[in-house]
Amino acid sequence: MDFEAVWVSMQLALWTTITLFVFGLPLAYWLAVTRWSLKFLIEAIVVVPMILPPTVLGFYILIAVGPLSPLGRTYEAVVGRSLAFSFEGLWLASVLYSLPFAVRPFTAAFAGVDRRLVEASWCLGVSRLRTFLRVAFPLSWAGILTGVILSFAHTLGEFGVVLMVGGNIPGVTRTVSISIYDEVQAVNYSQAAMTSLVLLAFSFLALSVTHLVNRKTL
């Protein structure tokens, strides 16, 4: 098994999950609470990565982080190296790719919190932020945990986007799923089988946990 690739994948999944937790939670809460008439557009954009072929998503991200785009240029000017084919570029791509797997369970969890509880809290003089922390968050932790686990597992297994954006640089952007592909290409089936089995076991474990916590809170 390619432990370097496992390490890259773990780091990528960890950072992606943390990013989605930090930015996805407020976005999900806003989606669950707002009555803005155009919110369906935001909802659609969040889910697009789920429907789009990963190569298409990867292609656009590659263009967006490339040296010809404003983002790529700015990054290169500030950091001094290219965003494309770097770990950071891959990180950005993973965040977008796994966005629906975090935001949708988060939103569903928040939507499941009775709106009147939130309103009751407001009427008791408690700010929106504190209402979120004291009411919405504790009542939706199972859904939030589900989103966290799903985005981690989903990032761990991504392939198309990684191939498009990250290239295949060992120790930097070569993730575990790409290592499996390489082993197969090299007709190294036993290695591929072992790594695949580890990924399968992990996915199964992750999904079992999410179903368990969601059953418990029913």
Binding site: W122, L124, V135
Partner: protein, 421 residues
């Protein structure tokens, strides 16, 4: 006694009670400041004017729904219980939500004393957090993950632990919740849950309490019990309250002032007695449950009495004074005749009518009866449909049956007339 500013004072230690402050005595006879007196830490901003008034005049639109138009003016610095009354969908709950700041009207303004809560023209909208109100939801909206004591203390914010304990204890004692502090909401009965929700709102010492159908989710015995207690508590706390209900009994039992809503508009506003006995139009008469509403015409006015032709019969009522913009009732005026079923007596038909002070004796026959608990609702045909409410016992003792002939007796003041265009 200068009580005007005492509402804003912190709960003072016993020794600080100085004649100027309204005090009450608890069960142990210990004088203590009224729980209503407010706390500086929780309610940071300042002095209220002597007579605080809630003035609301606004419009709330719903896409595809009716427009809710509200005009309200109620005192809000002492005990008063205003009931917003009307059928479902008439806009009363929307009004309450707008007063709380949970919904934002499109037009108009809401003022509380000299504070502006909402002003469409100036773009002012105070969020619920800053209105310092208490709001009680129909199904209590207790936080399911918090114990009773945490629920009650939820809105207290940053106050000293000792005072927090005192205030929670004060309110749990008053509402009879002592001993339930460590339970979770799901471990409480419906009535207990609603009392916890009330305690949670009251412990913050709101300036205005808004109750949205607070008793409707409860079973009948609990509802009756809590209804009696609710008014007692609110009087004791001198809480200015606005309550929404579609239950006539609740409106009668709890309210001082009644605001009748229909189809998004305020139809009538006045004391409960006034609105129930003298509805201004047919819609209000229906909503407040007048049983018989019939078209008629005034045929004679004499000695303060009006004679009204209703179908083939003539009725005598007090001649209405000053209706339709100051005019007294006149002959040929078209009216609606309103009669409550409980104001109609039934007599068995006897050969020679005995003398009676009641002005109206209408011969008719029983068309059908409906049993309502101990009462019988009797539908009569007296030339026009008339409903009477009598005890089941009386109905049986008189040996009445369907199709029997009876005399319906109605006193003149029990007949209310509404001008008809």
């Amino acid at each position: 006694m200068g009580v005007s500013c005492s509402h804003d004072e912190a709960v003072a230690p016993e020794s600080a009670s100085n004649g100027r402050e309204p005090v009450q005595r608890d069960r142990a006879g210990r004088a203590q400041p009224l729980p209503l007196s407010r706390n500086q830490e929780v309610c940071p901003d300042g002095v209220e004017p002597v007579a605080t008034e809630l003035t609301a005049e606004f419009e709330k639109h719903f896409p595809g729904g009716p427009v809710v138009q509200v005009a309200l003016r109620r005192p809000a610095d002492a005990f008063s219980l205003t009931v917003l009354f009307g059928p479902s969908g008439s806009g009363k709950s929307t009004t309450l939500r707008c007063l709380a700041g949970l919904d934002r009207p499109e037009r108009g303004s809401i003022r509380f004393g000299d504070e502006i809560w909402f002003d469409a023209v100036r773009g002012i909208f105070l969020p619920p957090q800053r209105r310092r109100i208490g709001y009680l939801f129909q199904d209590n909206a207790l936080f399911p993950h918090l114990r009773v004591v945490q629920n009650i203390g939820y809105g207290l914010g940053k106050i000293a632990a000792a005072e927090r304990r005192v205030r929670i204890e004060e309110i749990t004692t008053l509402l009879g919740l002592a001993g339930l502090e460590d339970r979770y909401p799901r471990q409480l009965s419906g009535g207990q849950q609603q009392r916890v929700a009330l305690a949670r709102a009251l412990v913050c010492r709101p300036r205005l309490l808004l109750l949205d159908e607070p008793l409707s989710a409860l079973d009948a015995p609990t509802r009756e019990h809590l209804r009696r207690q609710l008014r007692h508590w609110l009087v004791e706390l001198r809480m200015s309250t606005i309550l929404v209900t579609h239950d006539r009994i609740e409106a009668l039992a709890l309210g001082d002032h009644l605001v009748v809503f229909d189809a998004g508009r305020v139809c009538q506003s006045g004391s409960v007695q006034e609105v129930f006995s003298a509805p201004v139009d047919r819609a209000v008469a229906r909503i407040v449950g007048v049983d018989t509403i019939e078209r008629g015409m005034i045929v004679q006015v004499a000695d303060g009495l009006a004679t009204i032709q209703v179908g083939p019969k003539q009725l005598i009522a007090l001649a209405p004074r000053r209706w339709n913009g100051g005019r007294d009732a006149q002959v040929d005026a078209q009216v609606y005749v309103c009669i409550r079923a409980e104001d109609v007596l039934l007599e068995k038909k006897v050969a020679n009518t005995s003398q009676s002070s009641a002005r109206n004796h209408l011969l008719g026959h029983i068309r059908s009866v409906d049993r309502e608990g101990a009462m019988m609702r009797v539908n009569l045909d007296c030339g026009f449909p008339l409903k009477a409410l009598v005890t089941h016992q009386a109905y049986q003792n008189m040996g009445l049956r369907e199709r029997d002939e009876v005399v319906a007796v109605i006193k003149a003041p029990a007949i209310h007339l509404i001008a008809r265009d």
